[in-house]
Subunit: 240 residues, 2 copies
DNA sequence: AAAATAGAAAATATCCAATTTTAAAATGGA
DNA sequence: TCCATTTTAAAATTGGATATTTTCTATTTT
């Protein structure tokens, strides 16, 4: 589904630019520049930025305008643990009430992911953002039967946060090959075997490894401007 | 800390009105009416409403404006379970890294809560919103040493959501007496004894009971307008 | 030279008026 | 009663104007 309103479209674009690291942690988001870059009015921009504040991707201190939320190892650790908690819990619930539809979604998502992983693995030059999209869909499918909107909601937020760190890591280091492919395969097997314990163990390890991609570099250096305060504010909902 | 900007102030006021049930589930939030009621411009209003969308208190479907998010038993169940998950997890973590400061916050918060509970218990007419504030502070203190900003963040969202249901229940039924007082006492004891298992068990029960106040009435009747679709969208950060 | 201060320039937060789009309601026949 | 059309009420956006607040820079003071 494509955005029905301008605000939503711009929201998606800025969000994407932050997630991809085009807008770097700490960057000041001057309304005037944004106006030109995204071709929308100040008011529309402010509205979209407010939403991003809620997602924990943008900060809005007092009267000092908007900035891209800074990164830190502590924040990454927090996000990683939180994502593990939520994703494992949701995966467990999903397995409990797993039905054929769920299985079908999981297998389908895995297939897509697997195919593109194969392509990229043989030729790293062909890395595509599609990989990230399919990866998200696979993880999404796994927990799609958990039955809790809020859980999916929060998980989505954490997923995006961790994605940002991962993408930042790829800016300085090569995309890791092979390993995550095998992990995904194991995760799929555990899911289809309805082995909740094994599944959560695998997911935990998988998520940890993903985070390490970032930790390995010390990416917590100069970012945009000064204070690299704590993370977000208030935030909410998942994508329809 | 008082709001530094108009938007923040209005945000707080609308938020409060929704939590208190002054703005009822399903209510249409016409910008024009809001403009008068809260004395702010359309743009400012849109900005604050966007934030509330993130909190899962306001919905913003397509091009049909804003509405107060409807309530439903399914949603309440979801919220309740989610709050239990987060609050118990956070309480456990808190106990793990509990120090004297934490203990002091817990005891202090309990004291305030206890005092006002006593007053209200002897004279129900004197029910005060302060009780809710102190109750929040007590629960907040319990998990304040968990060390995870995101966890506190998400918990805050769930707490507010459950508070809304509770307040809606009080509109039709009397404030329950005595029981929760005893529960709080037990919770305090378990916390000070560093008994994580007992504490989480008590918290779970306590939260369940709180939710039942609402379930007991069938409060899921006509609310504002038509479709009472699913809950929220995206959401994010905690209060500073 | 470090610290404090005054003033200028830049950027925010807000508001208002006007336009374009959309959705919901009303109307008028088949 | 059920469509199709017109009307009407709102919402989404824009552009511009205005106070206020920050931030920067040059000037003084200690």
């Amino acid at each position: 589904m494509r955005p029905t309103t301008l605000t939503e479209a711009v929201y998606g674009r800025i969000r994407n630019d932050i997630l991809l690291g085009l807008l770097k942690p700490g960057d000041k988001l001057k309304l005037e520049s944004l106006r030109q870059r995204y071709d929308a009015s100040i008011n529309t921009l402010r509205e979209t930025l407010s939403r991003l504040v809620a997602d924990g991707l943008v900060a809005n201190e007092g009267q000092r305008g908007f900035t891209v939320v800074p990164t830190s190892l502590a924040d990454l650790r927090d996000i990683t643990e939180m994502r593990q908690l939520l994703e494992c819990h949701a995966a467990r619930l999903s397995i409990q009430s797993a039905d054929l539809d769920w299985e079908s979604r999981v297998v389908g998502a895995y297939h897509k992911l697997s195919k593109i992983e194969q392509v990229i693995d043989t030729d790293p030059k062909r890395y595509s953002p599609l990989l990230e999209a399919y990866n998200r869909q696979f993880h999404g499918a796994l927990i799609s039967a958990c039955g809790s909107r809020w859980l999916l909601n929060f998980h989505g937020v954490m997923y995006d946060q961790s994605l940002r760190y991962r993408m930042l890591a790829f800016q300085v280091r090569d995309f890791p090959r092979d390993q995550s492919r095998r992990e995904h395969r194991e995760i799929l097997d555990a899911a289809l075997a309805r082995d909740a314990d094994r599944l959560t163990a695998l997911l935990t390890a998988h998520i940890t490894k993903g985070a390490e991609l970032y930790v390995e570099q010390d990416l917590t250096r100069a970012q945009g401007t000064k204070r690299r305060g704590p993370p977000p504010r208030r935030h909410a909902g998942p994508r329809k």
